[in-house]
């Protein structure tokens, strides 16, 4: 990875102080980065999804997010995917009595490829996300190519019985991949919880380059397939985090 636009790099308790490799790369000067806020990135993807050039936002005026730009001018010019300006502060043309003046505009994002993991999809490509949608629908619709991995494929007839529960129409999806436990070691609402054991394992192996390399070889580069990965995790652990249907997570899961 050469450059990232980021609004929050971390997995809370399992990476105290911030994402382990994310911190290492920035502190080591190994990667270009640009900081936004969570709401800005949400609106940037929403603009991309709706074909709008930018979105207005009021928050972050008076902060360094506006003043300090991570990507330099040359890099912005050289890479067509990066907007030439991080953001623009403009006057609100509809300000009535001179109070509500400044507004920040953030540029749209249209990714080349978006990858999301959803609970269900049908063979044709209609996608159903259960629980929170985070910014998945915006990121999905903003992309040129969209790949959706899902826990289950359901019949078209079934998924179209309650279409108000579907978020992404099939013609916006380029590929559906059935990957049960595809979000492991993070959670998938209604199917399985996050795996504290594996997240702690990563937390121990990630800080040091050597042990991080071992982790990659063992669980990422070294596995032949997703099934092979799940075998390594082991049936026992997978059943330990299986979600209770009514709650959507595993009640009483040991999470220390």
């Amino acid at each position: 990875v050469d450059a990232i636009e980021v609004s929050y790099g971390g997995t809370a308790r399992f990476s105290p102080g911030g994402g382990i490799r994310f911190k290492k790369a920035i502190e080591g000067g190994k990667i270009r980065f640009e900081d936004y806020t969570n709401f800005q990135m949400t609106l940037r993807f929403l603009a991309g999804a709706m074909g709008l050039p930018f979105m207005p936002i009021r928050s972050l005026l008076g902060t360094d997010v506006v003043k300090k730009w991570g990507f330099d001018e040359a890099f912005r010019k050289s890479n067509p995917r990066i907007p030439e300006k991080k953001m623009a502060v403009v006057e609100n043309p509809f300000a009535r009595d001179g109070t509500d003046e400044k507004v920040v505009l953030v540029p749209a994002i249209n990714p080349d490829v978006t990858l999301i993991h959803a609970q269900q999809a049908d063979r044709q490509g209609t996608v159903r996300i259960k629980g929170l949608t985070y910014t998945d629908a915006e990121q999905a619709k903003a992309a040129k190519y969209l790949i959706v991995s899902c826990e289950e494929v359901v019949e078209t007839e079934t998924i179209r019985e309650n279409p108000d529960q579907n978020q992404i129409p099939f013609f916006m999806v380029d590929a559906i991949v059935v990957v049960p436990y595809g979000a492991h070691p993070t959670a998938c609402y209604g199917y399985y919880d996050y795996d504290p054991y594996h997240l702690n394992l990563y937390r121990e192996m990630a800080p040091d380059d050597r042990t991080f390399r071992q982790y990659l070889d063992e669980y990422v580069l070294g596995v032949k397939s997703h099934d092979n990965y799940l075998e390594k995790i082991g049936k026992h652990r997978l059943s330990e985090i299986k979600a209770d249907l009514k709650l959507g997570y595993r009640a009483g899961l040991g999470r220390r």
């Binding site: 929050y8 911190k23 972050l60 009640a251």
Partner: protein
């Protein structure tokens, strides 16, 4: 007098600050424990919502992050980030929101740094970044800040201004284009700071039992007014058992 950790009194001080009609914007970690505690202490009708889209979560179990599926149970609506941030910036709901978050550095006006220590482009220490706190602090009615009481954290000027407090002094926010609402209190492991109504400068408002005002000042790189400090009420038995038995039985956060 019951034994308690500094995290426990920090959480309870925050919980007592939350009112019944508040809509609580909950960050990750200790702020969640405070929001949950408030529902059982001072604000049973307060509404907990997460930037990820879980609105009025029942929180049978303590979530470990704003994305934890535990925030999705029994909510009024399960939506997404766009909806949650809409509540923050909505002119009718925004002013009712209380934001609760932590930070690595804070200055005299409650401006926060959650991004980096040292030079932004090549920092000694890099943190996760703004997350949703900056958006919340720009619009919430008021906010509560959790900090560790250390000299290097209470500084004259933060290395990176991630989240706006009172922006330098009176009228600072208005001039920057933000509504004139900002942080109301800073809770640390030694006491509580608030902001002077006029100068918007931080002053010592409370010290925990057994801690002297000067001891708090010694752990700060900035001089603040100590004259108004009084002792904070220690946690009660019920409050502590509420935290230990009901909210965080596994001691995940406190």
């Amino acid at each position: 007098m019951p034994e308690y950790s500094f995290r426990e009194i920090m959480v309870l001080v925050a919980a007592r600050e939350i009112r019944d009609e508040d809509i609580v914007f909950c960050g990750t970690g200790i702020s969640m424990v405070a929001a949950m505690a408030a529902k059982h202490i001072s604000a049973p009708h307060s509404i907990i919502f997460f930037e990820t889209g879980g609105i009025d979560s029942q929180l049978l179990e303590l979530p470990l992050s704003v994305g934890d599926p535990r925030v999705m149970f029994g909510t009024s609506i399960n939506a997404g980030l766009a909806d949650s941030f809409g509540i923050l910036q909505n002119p009718f709901t925004g002013p009712r929101v209380v934001g609760i978050f932590g930070a690595a550095q804070i200055d005299r006006h409650g401006n926060l740094n959650t991004t980096c220590i040292g030079d932004y482009w090549r920092p000694q220490v890099r943190f996760p970044g703004c997350g949703g706190a900056c958006d919340a602090a720009s619009y919430a009615g008021r906010s509560i800040i959790f900090m560790k009481q250390e000299k290097r954290k209470f500084v004259e000027k933060v290395d990176y201004l991630s989240t706006p407090g009172w922006i330098p002094g009176p009228g600072g926010r208005k001039e920057a284009g933000l509504p004139e609402r900002g942080p109301s209190m800073v809770i640390t492991d030694m006491g509580v700071m608030r902001f002077d109504d006029d100068s918007k400068h931080m002053y010592l408002s409370r010290t925990y039992p057994g801690i002297l005002p000067q001891q708090v000042q010694d752990e700060m790189d900035i001089e603040i007014d100590l004259s108004r400090a009084v002792e904070e009420k220690p946690p009660t038995e019920e409050e502590l058992s509420l935290l230990r038995e009901r909210i965080d039985p596994q001691g995940l956060i406190i």
